[in-house]
């Protein structure tokens, strides 16, 4: 049995159950229709996800040979930690981008990501960040004429 697929399938089945039993009954897009109910399409897709997940579940439990060529675990806990850290860095920079504008957000984003990736020389960070920002800003506001935050 491959644990990853097993848990992925369980998770997907849970998602389908929540959608079918809680989310959709609390929705209200009903009204006059002649072709199909508004919920026919999402229901069919959810049924598809559900049935395929059951298939995956069965496969994961009964046919471990299918997975011989694949690595056991896709992620270790430490990798997940790093991933969450970089995600938080990006999210934080985007918040700066939102509140303080393109220049502040862009510099924070590029600098923080570079530091995270192991570049500590501020001069090199500046030589990457500033031209990138200047060129992007120029293209977007002057050539495309779209206002940036």
């Amino acid at each position: 049995m491959r644990k990853v697929d097993f848990f992925a399938a369980i998770g997907l089945l849970g998602f389908v159950a929540v959608m079918v039993m809680i989310v959709i009954p609390n929705e209200n897009a009903e009204g006059v229709w002649h072709g199909l109910s508004p919920y026919f399409y999402p229901m069919v897709m959810l049924a598809g996800v559900g049935l395929s997940s059951i298939g995956l579940l069965v496969q994961a439990m009964t046919k471990p040979s299918e997975y011989e060529s694949q690595p056991q675990a896709p992620l270790t806990w430490s990798e997940l930690g790093f991933f969450l850290l970089i995600s938080a860095i990006i999210l934080g920079s985007v918040l700066v981008f939102h509140w303080f504008g393109t220049w502040a957000g862009g510099i924070v984003l590029i600098a923080a990501t570079m530091v995270f990736m192991g570049e500590v020389n501020p001069l090199r960070i500046a030589t990457v960040a500033l031209p990138t920002l200047a060129v992007t800003y120029a293209i977007v506001t002057w050539a495309l004429k779209i206002p940036l935050p």
Binding site: V32, H34, G35, K145, I146, P147
Partner: protein, 315 residues
């Protein structure tokens, strides 16, 4: 008590107007953003982009145009509602965004949450059929369906046309079934493929009617189409209903009147330039101009008309 409030209101308004004049003298001092409530490629987009050029010249500041499609213009309208009331952020799109959407969707805005600068042209909502079908008018379609004892299917675009044809169906005692399509192009495509009895769009039909690929059979407005004066309108057919979708420009509530007037004048002059007129003509729109004094009133009248339609259909 009432009088006190209105006096106070007048005083505030007066003060706002006076300070406004000072602001309007200099307006605009920075670029003006027009946000189109619809995607690129449509009639709204073409006209607004065209008029931005002469306005940039006349106002002396860049007039920037962005598209922010979503919720029938509602997403862009919310941006305008929240913007600071200085006239630098302008909505451009269909007047249905204000006059109809709040009636059928739980929008967070009402038609009177804005300063409507002007209605700058009128979409020509037309009804058309495939030339292989024998119909010459909407009456023919109804009669054919009655004679053959069948329902009528038409290419529909949004809720307003469904309500209007539900009204017609009730009055005529026939079943009219909307086939959902994606925008004016979708409605034209379905009709070109001869999948429906007739189709509805606002101007997209133009080139196809000219080439003979489609035949006009009606106007969906209370009045007739400008380019097809012989085609009957909804009122001509005895249906006391009609659509009316203007290209409207609006800004945030509380924008000083002088600023609104200055913008309206710029729009008016811009619309009169030959380049913009050519675009209006090529998109099969009608050249009208209703300024800031009347625009809000027209939107209110349209809202009342649709509110009654929505109420009637609920019964």
């Amino acid at each position: 008590m009432k009088r006190t409030i209105s006096t106070a209101a007048t005083t505030v308004l007066l003060a706002a107007t006076l300070s406004g004049y000072a602001a309007a003298q200099e307006f605009p001092t920075k670029p003006i953003n027009i946000i189109i409530g619809f995607g690129a490629g449509g009639g709204t987009d073409a006209v607004v982009r065209a008029v931005a050029e002469p306005m940039t010249k006349s106002l002396g500041q860049p007039v920037l145009v962005t598209n922010k499609p979503g919720a029938g213009g509602g997403v862009a309208a919310m941006d305008i509602k929240k913007a600071s009331p200085d006239g630098y952020t302008i909505y451009a799109g269909g007047s249905l965004t204000f006059a109809f959407e709040p009636l059928v969707l739980k929008t967070q805005y009402k038609h009177d949450d804005f300063e409507h600068i002007a209605l700058i042209s009128l979409f020509q909502d037309g009804l058309f059929t495939h030339p292989s079908r024998p119909y010459k008018s909407m009456r023919d379609v109804i009669n054919a369906a009655k004679a053959e004892k069948r329902s009528i299917k038409y290419a529909s675009q949004y809720q307003l046309d469904r309500l209007i044809f539900a009204f017609v169906a009730k009055q005529e005692g026939v079943e009219i079934i909307p086939v959902p399509t994606q925008g004016g192009n979708g409605a034209v495509t379905a009709t070109l493929a001869n999948q429906v009895d007739f189709g509805f769009s606002g101007g997209t039909f133009g080139p196809h009617v000219e080439s003979g690929a489609l035949r006009m059979i009606g106007s969906m407005m209370a009045e007739r189409l400008e380019r097809f004066p012989d085609i009957l309108s909804m009122h001509d057919n005895g249906w006391k209903i009609g659509s009316g979708n203007y290209l409207i420009v609006s800004t945030t509530k509380g924008t000083p009147k002088p600023v609104v007037d200055k913008l309206a004048a710029a729009f008016k002059a811009g619309m009169q330039t030959p380049a913009v007129q050519a675009v209006v003509k090529s998109r099969y729109m009608k050249d009208v101009f209703i300024g800031p004094d009347k625009a809000g009133q027209v939107v209110k009248e349209e809202t009342d008309k649709y509110a009654k339609l929505v109420e009637d259909q609920k019964k």
